[in-house]
């Protein structure tokens, strides 16, 4: 697997605000990586450095092996970007702007594909941009991005203005470009979206990557909620080191299990007659609610 994006020890301050302290991660070709973290963690800053819009104070960042600041023009020929807040020229129509973006990409506009996307996103390209709602402005950027045959898609909260139905369209389109072999970096606060789409995640907090890896790996680090009921009264379960937050309900017992100790737990209840057993897989949300919460605590 070739490394498409490679970020090493990136640092960036704005005046006294330290936006990035130490950011390193990679996106390999064909991968989709979710980039998540609380407000102000440094996601947009990292992405803007990747796009050569702002310059890192220290560290290196390359895309396709090229320096993101010096060779931005070459890189951008193969990259499509959608920001969270899309602003456009008020006097032009959405259709005009899409064509302009595509022509600047140096791509012959594939009319069919563009029309198709507009239909799927239920987008009216004849209105002036000043008349579009936030979601519709975002669609302009999304349609332009998906119409372009890019090798890398960079999305910064691309669905923050979309309704749930349109968000689904976005997910479908993303899967299609992935199927064609493109890679995606997706920053989003909608965790279910990241969970459904991404192979890997990188979690950033206060300018530092605090966790990164494949979702299934990360799940091992977390806890599963177990609900079970046995015929006999169960003893000594509280003492087990892998059991947390145990609650005895009327009949059932609910607790959090360290996910990598599942087997030990099963051995433990083996002697009993199990009447009911439910396990809820860890949600991405649980996984990094921890990070969100520590930030709030630390502030």
């Amino acid at each position: 697997m070739t490394k498409l994006i490679e970020i090493k020890a990136l640092e960036k301050s704005f005046g006294k605000t330290i936006a990035l302290k130490n950011v390193s991660f990679e996106v390999n070709s064909g991968e989709i990586v979710g980039f998540i973290g609380p407000n102000g963690a440094g996601k947009s800053t990292t992405i803007r450095i990747l796009l050569g819009l702002i310059r890192a104070d220290a560290g290196t960042a390359t895309i396709f092996g090229k320096d993101v600041w010096k060779e931005s023009v070459d890189i951008h020929k193969r990259v499509a970007y959608v920001p969270g807040d899309v602003n456009l020229w008020p006097n032009l129509t959405g259709g005009q702007v899409i064509d302009l973006f595509l022509s600047m990409h140096g791509i012959k506009v594939d009319k069919q594909r563009k029309e198709n996307l507009m239909k799927r996103f239920e987008f009216d390209p004849t209105k002036k941009c000043r008349a579009y709602s936030k979601g519709n402005r975002q669609k302009v950027a999304l349609i332009a991005a998906f119409s372009a045959d890019a090798d890398l898609y960079i999305f910064d909260e691309p669905t923050s203005g979309l309704d749930p139905l349109q968000e689904r369209v976005f997910q479908d389109c993303t899967r299609e470009v992935l199927a064609k072999g493109a890679s995606v970096l997706l920053s989003s606060h909608i965790l279910s979206e990241v969970e459904q789409l991404c192979d890997k995640v990188a979690i950033i907090r206060q300018g530092e990557i605090v966790e990164s890896g494949s979702l299934s790996d990360l799940r091992h680090l977390t806890r599963t909620q177990i609900t079970f009921q046995t015929q006999e009264e169960i003893k000594g379960i509280e003492e087990q080191p892998y059991v947390h937050d145990l609650i005895r309900e009327k009949e059932a017992i609910v607790f959090q299990l360290d996910a990598d100790h599942l087997n030990e737990f099963l051995t433990f209840i083996q002697p009993y007659t199990v009447l009911k057993f439910e396990s809820a897989p860890p949600k991405l949300e649980d996984l990094f609610m921890r990070h969100y919460e520590t930030v709030k605590g630390g502030d």
């Binding site: 803007r48 796009l51 931005s72 023009v73 920001p83 899309v86 456009l88 302009l100 973006f101 600047m104």
Partner: protein, 530 residues
């Protein structure tokens, strides 16, 4: 040249979105030139009349207004045109270019449009370079149009070389101030700041020139306006100001491009101050909110007005000395011995100062529309404040601004005139300035009608302000018919040191302004908020 990738593409696109605006501006500029040439050819055909005008022009007060008197020995139509039309034209073309550059650089960056463009395979300088090309194209067209008009409409005294030089210095004034704006657009992180800095440079150049033309000549040459004026088309046709201004523009453009290449998207080189954590009690009242919105530009304006008043005031003292004992001049102007020439100049300058005070007060009111366009008004209206309170707050602040600025200016102007030993009572000058307040209020009234009923056309108010300015500035020179002059509220105001205070005018104009404001509110109350 990677950093210029796709400049052409962006430029073509810029043309597509700008052509209508530029067409309107260029038409306005052409109209300015036509008006000047035709009026002078028509009104001042008689050489004797021109010569007496030449004498009248040759004093510090007039020079402060129009520029150093040139070609006085042989005051041809060409010389007259050069002398009276040049400085004001420069200011007009500079304003056009400042707005053009801000609109096409920092505004789009602030709005986040540039971020989308620069994420495409376009060079880091492409967007700015396209704005530079547009600046050059617009001012190039301006130069050509002016030259052609001057050749076609001018009389024998307006030779081809002079016409070409005039066109070029017109274009250069746009290019120089456009280049200044290219730099300020890198310094400030927002469009408003970039624009204010550029207008600040323009204002400083204007005042530098006033002071320079009234004595310390070196200062005039340091001002781009004074420098370009020094080309004296149709009189001496000096070309060196053109070369210097080209060099200056190149330098500024290079600096701007270099800064743009270095800096982060969205950042300015001047630091933004950190905001306050909590709204102060004042900010929570509607009036306080309006004040907060307009505070910085008003402070800048206040300083500018103070300096303008002082500059004009300090030259007026010299006029008397010049006139005293000069029998020729006395003969020409003192047909009516009660009418002092100096008093006439004073009246005229008070009019100009009143026009200047009109601009910030209208800006305050237009901020209402500006907030609306940025969708911020919704939030205030959706809050607990009625539309009357909001509209009223903007009107009140704008009226207060008028009164304060008129006081400030007349005090600065009169005070420095008295300080320069000119025999005038400070009180008289202040009263004269007060006489203009109702006329300015009428302007505010017209602006509120536009905001209430024709919100999309609110900017038309500047056309009306421009018209009033033309009447005031050129009304006397061009012999315009009374009914046209009468359309400007300023025309009715008694020119105080030479005319009497009139309660009728004061009352009628004040009532008219109240009616206009009420009509404006009636429209604002019922219309949709954008």
């Amino acid at each position: 040249m990677k950093s210029q990738a796709q400049t052409g593409h962006i430029f073509r696109f810029t043309l597509k979105k700008e052509w209508l605006k530029l067409l309107l501006w260029l038409t306005g500029c052409a109209f300015y030139v036509i008006m000047g040439v035709v009026a002078f050819v028509e009104v001042y055909g008689d050489p004797l009349e021109r010569q007496s005008m030449a004498v009248a022009m040759q004093n510090p007060a007039m020079e402060a207004l129009f520029g150093r008197a040139i070609g006085i020995d042989n005051y041809t139509i060409g010389a007259m045109y050069s002398h009276t039309m040049t400085i004001l034209g420069f200011v007009l073309f500079a304003v056009m270019s400042i707005l053009l550059v801000v609109r096409n650089t920092r505004s789009e960056e602030e709005d986040g449009i540039l971020e989308m463009i620069q994420a495409l395979p376009t060079g880091r300088l492409a967007h700015t370079t396209s704005a530079i090309l547009l600046l050059l194209l617009t001012n190039g067209l301006l130069a050509i149009i002016s030259t052609v008009l001057l050749i076609v409409l001018g009389d024998g005294s307006m030779g081809t070389e002079g016409a070409i030089l005039t066109g070029i210095v017109y274009g250069m004034s746009g290019i120089v101030f456009g280049s200044v704006t290219l730099v300020t657009a890198q310094l400030s992180s927002n469009a408003r700041g970039a624009m204010m800095m550029a207008f600040g440079v323009l204002g400083a150049s204007y005042m530098l020139r006033i002071v320079g033309d009234s004595g310390i000549e070196l200062l005039s040459w340091l001002s781009p306006l004074g420098l370009l004026y020094g080309s004296e088309p149709f009189v001496n046709n000096y070309w060196f100001p053109v070369w210097i201004s080209i060099g200056l523009s190149l330098l500024l453009i290079t600096i701007a491009l270099w800064l743009k290449h270095q800096r982060d998207m969205g950042a300015g080189l001047l630091p933004d101050r950190a905001g306050k954590r909590h709204a102060t009690a004042l900010l929570k009242t509607p009036m306080g909110f309006v004040l907060k919105l307009v505070k910085t530009p008003l402070v800048v304006w206040a300083i500018a007005m103070l300096l303008l008043g002082v500059s004009y005031g300090s030259v007026i003292g010299d006029v008397e000395g010049l006139l005293e004992g000069n029998e020729v001049i006395e003969q020409i102007i003192a047909a009516d011995p009660d009418l002092s020439m100096v008093d006439q100049f004073m009246a005229m300058i008070l009019g100009v100062l009143a026009m200047a005070a009109t601009i910030p007060s209208i800006q305050v009111l237009l901020r209402l529309r500006g907030e609306e366009k940025k969708n911020r008004l919704e939030k205030i209206i959706a809050g607990s404040h009625s539309r009357l309170v909001i509209f009223g707050s903007f009107i009140v602040v704008s009226v207060v601004v008028v009164v304060l600025f008129q006081l400030l200016q007349s005090f600065a102007f009169g005070g420095s005139a008295v300080f320069m030993d000119y025999d005038v009572l400070l009180r008289e000058i202040i009263v004269a300035a007060m006489a203009y307040i109702p006329a300015i209020l009428v302007m505010i009234g017209v602006a509120s009608v536009l905001i209430g009923w024709l919100p999309k056309l609110t900017s038309l108010i500047w056309l009306y302000v421009g018209f009033a300015f033309v009447v005031l500035y050129f009304g006397g020179l061009f012999d315009m018919p009374d009914f046209i002059n009468g359309l400007s509220p300023f025309y009715h105001v008694p020119e105080m040191p030479i005319e009497e205070w009139s309660w009728t005018v004061t009352t009628v104009l004040s009532l008219l302004s109240l009616v206009l404001m009420a009509v404006g509110y009636a429209g604002f109350r019922r219309r949709d908020i954008d």
